[in-house]
Symmetry: C2
Subunit: 316 residues, 2 copies
């Protein structure tokens, strides 16, 4: 028998399940579109079915429990999803207790960004560190923080809302309603906004061509930049500078041994690395300047593997 | 016998020692000007003499060890003062080992801002919380952070350099050499700089009168503000706004249950509270808006009491 845990990654568009071995290996995997309009009962039924499927594929696994990654805000101690804005009807759902009762296994719940951070820490790009920050840059900008061997929770499990620190006076409005947030300048949404603005002003013909009649996306910028398109390269350079400003802040605040970038925009790190590191050297106090910025290693599996690790390892 | 610990607070101008009981009560206290130009040997001799003095005053104390608060950067695990810019010759001094050998007691070392945070957490304004941030606003702006019952150290013990996060694009130069740091806008030095500028431009006659031929200080601003002087009140209002911007960041990053303001400028909290809380409500995501901002309770004793608590309690 191989020691393993079940894992769920509850996303607004996709529901994913896996059996993860103690080494971090994904022994079985399944995914379906989340019934986001169906309410908690329908989605929980999906989870139970998906878990039965992966469980059937791994008869030799000795299952020690189930780890669940779900959208925040949630209460990890009580195992309650407090609010999941992308899922209809998910308010104060005691998901851990419900699943424990249905499945007869121990269940731990963690917010999705924290689960991904745990995954990268234990099995990915953060292995071997005692302190690291995982930063996921896609539509939004979020993350999870490990300091001195502990995943930070704080009051109501809300520590590490790194996308919503103010880094600028510019009155750029953020998705959170605030102004000047890191997310408002460095998320994929911000990159697409700047690219669309530039294309509309006639400053980026290649991006305009790629986007056709629609808005320019971060993906278009990446594609054009890879071909050496100057306006796209300039947009990525600005993106990298904004990322660097926020990353320098994280160094001062948490003193990690490593910064780990994930998400769609994060995966463009090789094209941004030089400017990011330049910005950090410019802004960080000297003892922080040599901290490496590296890409995430587990891709979309980070959250699943991290959720499983809640059961596979001692509590962080 | 009363269980107690010895404590040292090593400052650039004053060296302070105490016997602190397990309740946090200071049973004996002594202070002398630090021989800052004398080098480590001279200062260590001062420490030994000062500790002998407080020890002699508390014959009934059962001393469990010595806790030392010293300027950072330092390595708390190794007990080494890495660099103390205000003290001549203090580079890589293994202070804990030296004092342990001289005194025959166990010694723990912590940087002074962290020691003060521990003091406020265990015996002051942070009692009863699991997560809190202590912010000291005087010449500089520093602090110590407790999350989920642990004092954050991070790599090289450098977590919680909160004064050096970027919060603005304005090219205001910070003492650290960086630009846009919180400290450059919200420290006592920044307040004095703005006040001096305003007085020089003729915009603050009362401040000019108080300062005479010298520069305007934070103390002058506080004095004039207490008398209702409009320019001084406006300066404090701006100070409070800058404090609020940074405090809102700390809420998102650490999710504390309480923010605790100390230091000379921090003690002006009653005059700044309304604007600070207004700024937080404006900038923080809703679940963070009700976190209280309170004044430190232990004043200058926070560091001593916190250093003692390193020995009196289990490791944080």
């Amino acid at each position: 028998m191989t020691r393993a845990a079940l894992a769920i990654d509850l996303g607004g568009t996709e529901l994913r399940a896996a059996v993860v071995e103690a080494t971090g290996r994904v022994a079985a995997f399944a995914a379906i579109p989340t019934d986001a309009q169906g309410g908690p009962d329908a989605v929980i039924a999906q989870m139970v079915a998906l878990l039965a499927q992966v469980r059937a594929e791994t008869p030799a696994a000795d299952i020690v429990g189930l780890g669940v990654g779900a959208p925040g805000p949630l209460d990890p101690d009580a195992g309650i999803v407090v609010d999941a804005p992308t899922l209809l009807g998910w308010r104060n759902v005691p998901l851990a207790a419900i699943l424990a009762e249905r499945l007869g296994v121990a269940v731990e719940l963690e917010n999705d960004a924290n689960a991904a951070a745990l995954g990268e820490w234990r099995f990915g790009a953060g292995q071997g560190t005692r302190s690291m920050v995982f930063i996921t840059v896609s539509t939004g900008l979020g993350g999870g923080v490990i300091v001195d061997g502990h995943l930070l929770h704080g009051r109501r499990g809300l520590a590490g809302e790194i996308g919503h620190m103010t880094i600028s006076d510019r009155p750029e409005r953020c998705s959170c309603g605030g102004i000047g947030c890191w997310e408002a300048f460095a998320s994929g949404t911000a990159l697409a906004r700047e690219a669309t603005k530039l294309a509309a002003a006639g400053g980026a013909p290649e991006l305009k061509r790629l986007a056709g009649s629609g808005p320019v996306t971060g993906r278009h910028v990446a594609e054009a930049a890879r071909q050496g398109d100057a306006p796209a390269l300039k947009l990525l350079d600005d993106e990298a500078r904004w990322l660097g400003v926020g990353l320098a802040n994280l160094l001062h605040l948490y003193s990690p041994e490593r910064l780990i970038l994930g998400g769609g925009v994060g995966s463009l790190l090789p094209m941004m690395q030089e400017r990011i590191e330049h910005t950090i050297r410019e802004r960080a106090m000297s003892p922080f300047r040599d901290v490496p910025v590296v890409g995430a290693a587990l891709g979309r599996n980070a959250g699943l593997v991290g959720a499983a690790s809640l059961m596979l390892q001692e509590a962080p």
